[in-house]
Symmetry: C2
Subunit: 359 residues, 2 copies
Amino acid sequence: MKVHNFSAGPAILPASVMAEAAEAVRDFNGSGLSILEISHRSKGFVAVLDEAVSLVRELLGLSDDYAVLFLSGGASSQFFMSAMNLLNEDETAGYINTGAWSTKAIKEAKLFGEVKELASSKDTNFSYIPKGYAIPEDLKYVHITSNNTIFGTQFQEFPETKLPLVADMSSDIFSRPLPIDRFGIIYAGAQKNMGPAGVTLAIVRKDLLGKVNRAIPSMLKYQTHIDKDSSFNTPPVFPIYVSMLTLRWVKAQGGVEAMVPRNEAKAKLIYDEIDRNPMFKGVVTDAADRSRMNATFVLQDQYAELEQAFLAAAAAANCDGVKGHRSVGGFRASIYNSMELESVQALVDVMKAFAAKHA
Amino acid sequence: MKVHNFSAGPAILPASVMAEAAEAVRDFNGSGLSILEISHRSKGFVAVLDEAVSLVRELLGLSDDYAVLFLSGGASSQFFMSAMNLLNEDETAGYINTGAWSTKAIKEAKLFGEVKELASSKDTNFSYIPKGYAIPEDLKYVHITSNNTIFGTQFQEFPETKLPLVADMSSDIFSRPLPIDRFGIIYAGAQKNMGPAGVTLAIVRKDLLGKVNRAIPSMLKYQTHIDKDSSFNTPPVFPIYVSMLTLRWVKAQGGVEAMVPRNEAKAKLIYDEIDRNPMFKGVVTDAADRSRMNATFVLQDQYAELEQAFLAAAAAANCDGVKGHRSVGGFRASIYNSMELESVQALVDVMKAFAAKHA
């Protein structure tokens, strides 16, 4: 019986990708060798890496002004690496604080320069995306977390500024077209919308580099990885391979443009039920900020003691990973690119049946 | 027809590990989900990580004085991270330079403190392991590369000192028992003897930490990963899983003690042929320093023009990855733990046949 994987990350990948990946672990391209045991300098893997870079460029419409890097260390390493590479000690960067990930990015950036928190939704436990704040023109960059997996908020419009945006897009990369020229750096841990855990995409506007005066270890300089095509050291071969397969899948579906109606249909299905069902309510206070990737919801107060019962009902219907993050509670349905509408329908059916029984 | 994989890394893994890994990509433990799409906080993966840590402890006989970490960024990140975490700016560490990897480790460490090169074999393009050098007692630690994949040298005895050794063991970890109390840090990129590319083992003596006075980003502090059991951020799930399977395999063979005769038999087979065969000669000038992991050899001068012909003969016999590193030339047979004697025999047969035809 099919398991519906609502995990926030590592998360669902297309079934066809999983099948191809399993075969490559057994025998990569009929070579008689596993993808796990081939050199990162072999023709076979170099072709994989080249195709992955090309797919990122094509899907997001990147000009040659941008480098595409496959790194390791997760978005958590990009929190400090972006500041380390862009910000001098006497310079200031602006950060929009929309939750746990932004808060961590701010903490790490403070080791390298001045940080100005331009806006925050901390007052309501990050239940909305701040709007209407001023952005000084003398900042080095403006950092955002485009989608917050924990609270279920998402920037539907990006901040209006001529400054380069630095964006953590770990949980919504490749879910929609981007006004790419407004971004200086986009980074994303693979394990939500791009691939398995163990590789991090970094898209870097090259002219922003080389302007800080600190000594940086080779592995922490974007320029090192640009100069060596992400192979300065042994890259995470298999996570890159699976990411490439997933990017191929996105392209075959019609690209990021095709992800928009696909993701909107799933989001509409789950949010309509959250709003209709008398037992539930959404966590995000401004409906316009609701994430198309992670729908967060809780039981209405009078039903609060039924949380475990709902999780059990979801589990009984093979809906996995529905428990909300501990800092929000309740439930979270992560409905990334590769999730099918039928899986969201399965969860909605559980919600309907639960209300029929308990409301 | 079986391919004999002599690649220096990413490298051969046991056939049974590959089969289990492929199945887990399809369906992990009968869960209905792939190992690629499960949460790193799920019971299933937490059990994998716990078992991997336990296996490292058991195989190497580690006391509680040591933490076992699964990180990312490769040994190349440990080059700077070890110095960043151990060495203050006004302190000095000693380094033994046995080739390209040591040279890189020295370069990165210099960003954080004083580096004294205690010995080097650069004079002969790193064809031996230096001996007979003095080690001052006032150093913070002594760094070595236990096995050099490029030049085919290996420390058979570790430097005599009361200082903690910091060792890059990327290419010979788990190939032999270690006098573990003499080490402060052992680090190893997985992709030679432990697993696929994308995860790095770090074994850290905990009392060495917390003694530097610089600000360190959270992700670059060993203490962060100790406090969070290697799950401060999303770890590289699949590379850790495959490493765990490989460690299980080492244990099932009889542990690192059983790897010694296994690896010596393979090394004897290839080195005896290198020494016997009139067409070849070994690269390492002191036979005592020959690596049990990477046998490097070249054609005798009078046959030098036959290099491509030998590579073609090896390829025809399904011996893959035999070409030597560009900085040494000639040939390299990497014969890590999981390589079977029959594969080494296949290469030796090629060498014999080549001599019968050309010598």
